[in-house]
């Protein structure tokens, strides 16, 4: 049952990314091009998604536990430190260079453009590198 729900959530998330235009790098880069020919579309993606979570997350988190797990697994780190900020800066630069963040890159994999596979492979290498630095 848990696996079924996870698969369904992934499907809906993937459909959402495709519907919204996030799997189209030209739209993403057009959205980030605020000082050029700005395409505001993707503001509605983030806006729509955040409206739903802002309203529903507090209701869900009022429960003692989730429906199919023993407990909520939430991030515990609170510090706004150089790791968080540096990571966000580096991520933002990479996002602006090619136009994919992790979700859309994965969702676009089966469009079978080899450059997307290059992106995802490089992304996994980047994660492994950061993990190595983190653990030293």
């Amino acid at each position: 049952m848990r696996n079924m729900i996870a698969l369904l959530c992934g499907l809906v998330f993937g459909v959402g990314l495709a519907v919204s235009g996030m799997t189209d790098t030209a739209k993403v880069l057009g959205f980030l091009d605020v000082f050029g020919n700005w395409m505001p579309d993707l503001a509605f993606v983030m806006g729509g998604a955040v409206c739903v979570t802002l309203l529903a997350f507090p209701l869900v988190l009022r429960r003692a536990k989730p429906l199919l797990s023993a407990r909520f697994s939430l991030p515990v780190t609170k510090a706004i430190d150089s790791r968080l900020l540096g990571g966000a800066v580096i991520f933002g630069i990479g996002w602006g260079i090619y136009g994919y963040c992790p979700g859309p890159a994965l969702s676009a994999l089966l469009y079978l453009d080899y450059k997307t596979a290059v992106f995802v492979t490089a992304m996994l290498v980047g994660m492994a590198l950061a993990n190595r630095i983190d653990s030293t």
């Binding site: 696996n3 996870a6 959530c9 992934g10 809906v12 998330f13 959402g16 990314l17 495709a18 919204s20 996030m22 790098t25 030209a26 980030l32 605020v34 000082f35 050029g36 509605f44 993606v45 729509g48 998604a49 409206c51 739903v52 979570t53 802002l54 529903a56 869900v60 988190l61 989730p66 199919l68 407990r71 991030p75 706004i80 968080l84 540096g86 966000a88 800066v89 933002g92 630069i93 990479g94 996002w95 260079i97 994919y100 992790p102 979700g103 994965l106 969702s107 676009a108 994999l109 089966l110 469009y111 450059k115 290059v118 992106f119 490089a122 996994l124 980047g126 994660m127 590198l129 950061a130």
Partner: protein
């Protein structure tokens, strides 16, 4: 349809998915965290791989069901993808999240950390596109 209806619908679906994952499994729908958990073989991993499977297949279902063509492949080069991907992967691991984990879910939890991270990566994304397109005249 009104302009911006489709991106809004897409956003609502993404939000609904995040709420369902939290409600049923108690997990945050942060894609970078889910991917890292899956490839680094964390315990209790089957839900992560199945979520990723859905993420991969979902767009194909959408395009075939609605007859919407695939997006035009990026005009950028493979090495743009390599550099972009490397920075994205490094950054999201170091910063513990991406657009979904910090942006959609973190803001939904009203986490100050996530709000700061989202403002920073959005600003840096905008700054990068601005520099690349309007200062360097393209990469």
């Amino acid at each position: 349809m009104l302009p911006y209806t489709t991106p809004l619908i897409g956003g609502l679906l993404i939000g609904a998915s995040a709420v369902a994952l939290l409600l049923f499994l108690g997990r945050i729908a942060g894609i970078s965290g889910i991917v890292w958990g899956a490839v680094s073989a964390q315990p209790d991993n089957s839900w992560r791989w199945l979520f990723i499977l859905g993420l991969l297949v979902g767009p194909l279902l959408y395009h075939s069901a609605t007859g919407t063509p695939y997006p035009v492949p990026s005009a950028l080069q493979w090495w743009h993808a390599a550099i972009g991907g490397l920075l994205v992967g490094f950054g999201v691991k170091l910063g513990s999240g991406c657009t979904s984990g910090h942006g959609v879910c973190g803001i939904g939890r009203r986490s100050p950390r996530s709000i700061v991270a989202t403002v920073v990566f959005m600003t840096c994304g905008i700054a990068t596109v601005t520099v690349v397109r309007h200062v360097l005249g393209g990469l």
